[in-house]
């Protein structure tokens, strides 16, 4: 748990805000590759947060978490996604159902909602300060969900999901100094396998539907 006096807290707080910034840039991204790069950058910020948390908060097992995040989320998954975009030779880029200005407005609404929820929780925890972290984590999760709902491409949905997961990891690191090691490993494994399977299905969808536009997946109704 964070103590107010720790130096790491300041850095963590600012980095968390950086993650929020990154997710808002994602809302504005109109190129798939750029979206993946921003995701990788956001994961890097997450790794930095885990690093500061491990040194500042006497949670030394978090250092393994840093390696895990860098290998899986900063390098592995973005590499796979870029390969996927490359092989599928996607012509048209991010296609939103919702126009940019409205997306931005919705995203800011979600940030406010996240702060509102956090205030409700915080009221009950005097003495423990995690400034923006919990609300940032919630906001990242909610905006990630928003990205998934409002974008048509299968890959943007994957990035949205990964963003949500980043938000949860942020919450886990800041609130609990990371979950027990076995569980961290299992979670990262699940995330990786999940993305692999989604990648395989994206390929199959491309083969069968000649597109990865998920709005074409609409034959099952009622």
């Amino acid at each position: 748990m964070l103590e107010n006096s720790s130096i790491g807290v300041y850095a963590i707080d600012r980095l968390a805000l950086g993650m929020l910034g990154a997710v808002i840039i994602m809302v504005l991204c109109n190129r798939l590759a750029a979206l993946v790069y921003v995701y990788a950058f956001q994961s890097l910020l997450l790794a930095a947060i885990a690093f500061f948390a491990s040194s500042g908060l006497h949670a030394h097992h978090l250092i393994w978490m840093v390696y895990l995040i860098i290998i899986v989320k900063v390098l592995g998954i973005p590499y796979m996604l870029l390969r996927l975009i490359d092989t599928l030779t996607i012509k048209r880029e991010v296609e939103p159902y919702v126009k940019w200005p409205i997306s931005l407005l919705a995203a800011s609404g979600l940030v406010i909602l996240a702060y509102y929820i956090q205030r409700d929780i915080l009221e009950l925890h005097e003495g423990v300060v995690f400034n923006h972290c919990l609300s940032t984590s919630l906001a990242v999760i909610l905006i990630g969900l928003f990205l998934m709902i409002t974008r048509k491409k299968a890959i943007t949905q994957m990035v949205g999901l990964l963003t949500m997961e980043n938000g949860v990891f942020l919450g886990a690191i800041v609130l609990t100094s990371g979950m027990p090691m076995v569980i961290e490993l299992g979670m990262s494994f699940d995330v990786l396998v999940g993305i692999l399977i989604m990648g395989v299905f994206t390929f199959r969808i491309k083969e069968t539907f000649a597109s990865i536009d998920t709005s074409k997946l609409n034959s099952l109704r009622g």
Binding site: M1, I117, D120, I121, E123, L124, H125, S137, I141, L145, M148, A154, Q157, L161, M164, E165, G167, V168, G171, A172, L175, T176, M179, P180, V182, I183, G186, M187, F189, D190, V193, G194, I197, M198, F201, R204, I205, T208, F209, T214, L217, N218, S219, L220, G222
Partner: protein
């Protein structure tokens, strides 16, 4: 023994993948499933003597509640193994039968493995990991036929459940955080029984928010409305034995996840708050399902919406609370799994014989396939809640609990929905069973194995409608104690005595 239970599906699964002979894979899978089922009975008899089994420092932990879900999982997986032999031979291309069968049994075994892990683990983190893993593996099964519709269903299933499960992860994190806030002897391991032991000291505000995240997260997987949209697609597009497994077991495993957190939250929150949440989701699922059952044309989608309806009834039963409500809900879990699997088996037989899942084109089942036709009639009457079948018993228990706990409005809604669903299902099934069959449809059962699987399931469906065997009663009672939070002897004396 519990370690064997995890090893057997893994070994059989991998062997099935490498053996290039479909026949061998079928028998191997059947052997593995029957072994697992035997072990689950042994484990269960052992547990009901009083002490839960605990291994690997709480990573494996089976009490009566877990044991019941374990028994359910393995009972159904045995029936499904038998049915798969007959069904998959008929539904796959003869040319590459061997290759596809190997792959199918590989996925099937891994899927069962992840569900076994979900109900035997005592660690809330591992619980999350295994439930996420069930989604990943079963996606491969839903998209198994690789057609347009099955790909669409698989993608929706994967994405919606992955989002849901992310919320559940956040909820788990919040629970963990809440448990860290208690200064006590707890070792911060996310072990369920340790957190439960000190659960009355958790922060109520935090627990409230955390439980909502858990309920939305695992509720997506359990098929609660309005997060249910993946369910009819996945259930209708998966190979039929897998549909039975999804509906009969997977939904229940997710419910098991919710129950574990429900028990923890129940110790520090007002029971009415939790029960109202469950009741709301339950009634919403029920009402939405009722509407779709009436207008449904596709047989498997009809069954999928009926699963939604029954999950709603189970959630409502737990929401009503009390001995009778929870007992009825657990009983309903078993009953629904049995009857729904039977109905999926029947629907598989019909769809192969008639080459369609559209109910308007399926007519005269009793004439073309006497045994399947009879099972269709019996099964749909059981599903609709007609006495003397088992579902009637558990529905009566839940309704009684509802009226006696003072939830008059909710109970009335359930009652009305049940009547409407009864009319809908009986109308559809009698139309399919009688009339004259369309020309060009062959006669006779599709395979002996499928008939065997149906008749095996019919036995407990009829018996449980008349009386509940002692050992089941015992398990239910112990599970009810665990869910309603009555401390049993071993909980009071602490965990030092545990192996």
């Amino acid at each position: 023994m519990l370690k064997c239970l995890l090893a057997i599906p893994l070994v059989t699964g991998c062997l099935c993948l490498f053996i290039k002979k479909g026949r061998v894979a079928e028998l191997l899978n059947l052997l593995g499933a029957s072994l697992c089922f035997t072990i689950s009975i042994l484990v269960l008899t052992d547990i009901t003597k009083g002490q839960p089994r605990c291994d690997f420092d709480g990573l494996i932990y089976v009490d009566a509640l877990g044991g019941f879900f374990l028994f359910l999982t393995l009972l159904l997986s045995l029936a499904i193994s038998i049915y798969s032999i007959g069904y998959m031979r008929q539904s796959l291309n003869k040319a590459d039968l061997d290759r596809y069968l190997g792959r199918y049994y590989f996925y099937l075994n891994l899927f069962i493995l992840t569900m076994i892990l979900a109900v035997t683990t005592g660690n809330l983190g591992i619980l999350w990991i295994s439930i996420e893993a069930t989604t990943l593996i079963s996606t491969c099964l839903v998209g198994f036929y690789n057609e347009r519709t099955s790909l669409e269903a698989a993608w929706k299933y994967l994405i919606i459940c992955a989002v849901g499960i992310t919320f559940a992860l956040f909820g788990t994190t919040l629970f963990y955080y809440a448990s860290l806030n208690i200064p006590f002897e707890l070792r911060n391991t996310l072990n369920w029984y340790e957190i439960t032991r000190f659960a009355d000291r958790l922060d109520p505000g935090l627990t409230k928010v955390a439980f909502i995240f858990i309920l939305i997260g695992y509720g997506t997987k359990a098929g609660f409305a309005p997060m249910h949209t993946w369910l009819p697609d996945a259930h209708s597009q998966a190979p039929t034995p897998v549909s039975a497994l999804l509906s009969g077991v997977l939904l229940k495993c997710a419910l098991y996840g919710i129950l574990r957190f429900y028990i923890i939250a129940g110790k520090c929150l007002d029971a009415a708050y939790l029960n109202n949440l469950l009741l709301t989701f339950g009634i919403a699922s029920l009402v939405i399902a009722t509407f779709f059952i009436l207008i449904q044309k596709d047989l498997k989608r009809l069954l999928a919406y009926s699963s939604l309806e029954h999950m709603g009834i189970i959630a409502a039963g737990i929401g009503f609370g009390g001995l009778l409500g929870v007992y009825g809900a657990l009983f309903h879990v078993l009953n629904h799994a049995l009857v729904k699997s039977l109905m999926f088996f029947v629907s598989g037989n019909l769809s192969i014989r008639y080459h369609t899942k559209n109910m308007e084109n399926i007519k005269g089942a009793v004439e073309t396939m006497p045994l399947t036709g009879t099972a269709l009639l019996l099964g749909s009457f059981a599903l609709a809640g007609v006495p003397p079948f088992n579902i009637f018993m558990s529905e009566i228990a839940i309704l009684t609990a509802g009226f006696s706990s003072g939830n008059i409005l909710a109970s009335c809604i359930i009652l009305v929905s049940l009547v409407i669903v009864f009319a809908g299902i009986v109308k559809h099934s009698t139309a399919m069973a009688f009339n004259s069959p369309p020309s060009g449809v062959g006669r006779g059962e599709i395979d002996g194995w499928t008939v065997l699987a149906c008749s095996i399931l019919l036995v407990p469906i009829v018996i449980l409608g008349i009386y509940i065997p002692n050992f089941l009663d015992n398990i239910f009672n112990q599970s009810v104690c665990i869910i309603t939070g009555e401390e049993t002897a071993w909980m009071k004396e602490g965990f030092s005595s545990m192996k």
